[in-house]
Symmetry: C2
Subunit: 156 residues, 2 copies
C-alpha cells in the first residue's frame, strides 16, 4: 500500500451531542438499514463524537483539535517550515497563517526567520508552549482513555 503523504484535512467538528452510541455496533437503528452499513457514515459520526469529546475535554484550556495537532507536530519536529507543517495536516498554507498567528499570540509557539532561506519561517514551541503541553497531557490521556473504553476495550 502507498505511504505517500495524504492531503486530507483534520479540522472541523461541532459540539452538541451527549452520547457516543455511534460506537455501539449493536445499535442497529431500524430507521437506517442502508446508512448503518455505510462505512463513511459510521466513520463520520464516530469522528464527530470523538472530536466533540475532545472539545468538551479541552474547552477549559481553549484548544481545538487542529491547534492540538499543530502543537503536537511542532513539539515532535521543531524547526520545520510553516508550509511543511501545514501540508502534513492537509491545511492550505493560506489558511495556516491565522492558525499560527493565534498560537503565536498566545505565546505557545513562534516563527523564526530562516537563516539560509529568509523567505521561510521555522516553527518552534516557546517555553510556555512546552509547559502548556505538559499541562494538558493529562487531559489528553483521559480523553484517549475515554474513547478507547467507548470503543470497547483496548488498543492493539
Amino acid at each position: 500500500m502507498k505511504t505517500t503523504q495524504s492531503s486530507v484535512n483534520i479540522s472541523t467538528g461541532s459540539p452538541g451531542n451527549e452520547y457516543l452510541d455511534v460506537f455501539d455496533s449493536t445499535a442497529q437503528s431500524p430507521c437506517l438499514p442502508l446508512l448503518a452499513t455505510a462505512i463513511g457514515y459510521k466513520l463520520r459520526r464516530a469522528q464527530l463524537a470523538v472530536f466533540q469529546d475532545f472539545q468538551r475535554s479541552f474547552a477549559c484550556v481553549k484548544l481545538r483539535p487542529t491547534e492540538f495537532a499543530v502543537l503536537s507536530l511542532i513539539a515532535t519536529n521543531p524547526g520545520q517550515k510553516q508550509t511543511e507543517v501545514a501540508e502534513q495536516l492537509g491545511i492550505k498554507r493560506a489558511n495556516f497563517v491565522a492558525l499560527m498567528d493565534c498560537l503565536e499570540t498566545r505565546g505557545l509557539a513562534e516563527r523564526r526567520k530562516g537563516d539560509i532561506d529568509r523567505r521561510s519561517h521555522s516553527l518552534h514551541l516557546t517555553a510556555k508552549g512546552s509547559d502548556f503541553i505538559a499541562e494538558i497531557s493529562k487531559l489528553w490521556a483521559q480523553h484517549e482513555k475515554r474513547i478507547i473504553e467507548r470503543l470497547g476495550g483496548r488498543r492493539q
Copy 2:
C-alpha cells in the same frame, strides 16, 4: 451502552487527496508519533478519505454524502416528518430546509402537507427519486467495495 439517538452531523468533507494511505496502520510517519496514536486524528483522516472517494464516485450524478443520506433515509422510512429526518442525521431543522429544497427541485423527493397536523411535512421519494436510487446503487456498491478493500479486506 446507550442506544440513544446521537446528534452528530454527517456532512462535510473536502476533495483533494489521491491516497487513502491513512488506512495503512504500518505507515507510521516519523513526523507524527503523537498524532499517529490519536484516535480522533486517525478517524478524521479516514473519514475525509472515504468522503473524498464518495465525492469522486458521485460527482457524475451531482450527489453529496449528506444528500445520499437523506435520500436513503426517506427511501427506507417514507412519510417521516421533515424534522424527524433532520434529527436522525444530526442536522438542525433550519439547515435541512435548503437541503430538502434542492432534492425537491431536482424532483427526487417531495414534501407532503400532513393531513392531521397541517404544520408538518411528510417526506417521500418521487418515482424519479426511486429510479435515481436504482441508478446510483451500482456506484454505491463500487464505492463501498473500494473502501472495504482499502481497509484491508472484508466486512465482518
